[in-house]
């Protein structure tokens, strides 16, 4: 098991939530029904960042449907860029970008941030435009 994966699983354990509770919370925060998805795979076919994800976007939904904790330990939600390609293509009208955000929020609301200023060098902070830093911190910190 890779170190990143192990840490992700540890982090999931720190949430102290069952998968039933997680799925309820995801649905409540996103306003989406994860069981609407019928696994056609259109979202993953169009997702520009799918290659980088441990679980493809449709697999994330499948894992949620199956109450499989891997949904919460896979890196997918942190790689997702909220580009909304999946949302415009989903034949079932599932807003996967909102589902991903809800999953992130479950961590972020417990103060488990996924990006920090300490992790960036001064050079990078100076190099990056405000628009990138503000967006990244809005998505990955609580």
């Amino acid at each position: 098991m890779t170190k990143a994966k192990q840490t992700a699983q540890e982090e999931f354990a720190l949430l102290e939530l069952s998968m039933d509770e997680i799925v309820d919370k995801v649905e409540e925060l996103s306003g989406e029904n994860v069981f609407d998805c019928y696994q056609c795979g259109m979202c993953s076919a169009g997702c520009p960042l799918a290659e980088e994800m441990d679980l493809l976007p449709n697999q994330v939904l499948h894992a949620l449907q199956m109450k499989d904790p891997e949904a919460m330990s896979a890196n997918s939600m942190w790689i997702c860029a909220s580009c909304y390609t999946c949302q415009v293509r989903c034949p079932k009208g599932v807003d996967l970008a909102k589902v991903m955000e809800a999953m992130r929020q479950i961590y972020l609301r417990k103060r488990m941030d996924h990006v920090s200023l300490d992790g960036l060098s001064h050079r990078e902070i100076r190099r990056l435009p405000q628009i990138a830093i503000v967006a990244s911190f809005r998505k990955k910190t609580g």
Binding site: I79, A81, Q87, K98, L128, A135
Partner: protein, 294 residues
């Protein structure tokens, strides 16, 4: 001189900083078309990204304040140039306008502000050009036709997605191509014009962004592009940032100029365009001399 028509303009922080060429050229071309972009007073940063969780009213406050500023100014609309500001403000306006319960909650929370009435709509400058001014008027204003210049439009995400805020067909938009044609340049077709560049992932997954933007630019080059045109300062940064990396690592790498759509217009109108990459300037000049001789 004719009086200029006013548009209530929200610049956003990036246009005041790294994307100043976008604002400079935007002001100049709109003036040439008879409009003045009047900056909203005391605007604040919209927060860049729209909050996607339904219970999170907190993060609507920033954008709603900007809508209040427009209301105070007696305007029923806000025009943006930055496509990320467009998306955030537009989505916030759709989230609260016409929803009394949300309006009441937000207004109750912002007790130092006047109540927001839910009447301000948000538009992108490209919509104004297409729907109010029209491509014919744009074309009439052209003094330096960009004939022979091949332009790759790069829409990115936030002008087109999600569906409810799309300014054009999310899968097959034409607004940037139509603008290009009005300037006498040639729009080119390539597979990546509506793809995502990786956005803010550049902060902690820069390699992913480099990989994606390299693919986008290679496809545009193969299709014969002389320049890539965008309306998003983050796309602009990501594409340019990757190019710096490519110049460093690939011998003889030839840079692809990346500019804002307002800069392309400024070249066609012969008005202040901000900084234009030297290779593009030379190319445009060459095209115009050839035409002059021919």
């Amino acid at each position: 001189m004719n009086k200029l028509e006013k548009l209530t303009y929200f610049p956003g922080c990036t246009l005041k900083d790294t994307a100043s060429d976008f604002e400079i050229s935007g002001m100049a071309v709109m003036e040439a078309l008879g409009y003045v972009l009047e900056e909203l007073e005391r605007w604040n940063c919209c927060g860049t990204v729209f909050s996607l969780t339904d219970d999170d009213l907190m993060h609507q406050i920033g954008p709603v304040r900007d809508l209040i500023r427009a209301q105070e100014a007696g305007s029923e609309e806000i025009i943006t140039l930055c496509s990320m500001c467009y998306a955030t403000l537009k989505r916030s306006s759709l989230f609260v306008n016409g929803n009394q319960e949300r309006l009441d909650k937000i207004n109750a929370f912002m007790n130092k502000e006047i109540d927001y009435e839910g009447k301000v709509s948000v538009h992108h400058l490209l919509e104004v050009l297409r729907d109010r001014i029209g491509w014919e008027k744009v074309e009439e204003r052209v003094t330096n036709p960009l004939e022979g210049l091949s332009v790759a439009p790069f829409y990115g995400c936030t002008l087109l997605r999600p569906q409810e805020i799309a300014i054009d067909d999310p899968d097959a938009p034409t607004v940037l191509q139509d603008l290009t044609q009005a300037l006498w340049a040639t729009p080119i077709d390539y597979a990546y014009s509506v793809e995502c560049c990786g956005a803010y992932q550049v902060v902690d997954h820069r390699d992913v962004v480099i990989e994606r933007t390299h693919r986008i630019m290679s496809a545009a080059r193969r299709a014969g592009a002389d320049v890539i045109v965008t309306s998003c300062p983050l796309c602009h940064f990501n594409l340019s940032d990757t190019q710096k990396e490519l110049v460093r690592t690939i011998p003889d790498y030839e840079e692809m100029p990346i500019i804002y759509f307002t800069q392309l217009m400024a070249l066609g109108f012969g008005v202040e365009a901000g900084k234009i990459p030297a290779s593009l300037k030379a190319k445009v000049k060459r095209l115009q001399t050839v035409k002059g001789e021919g």
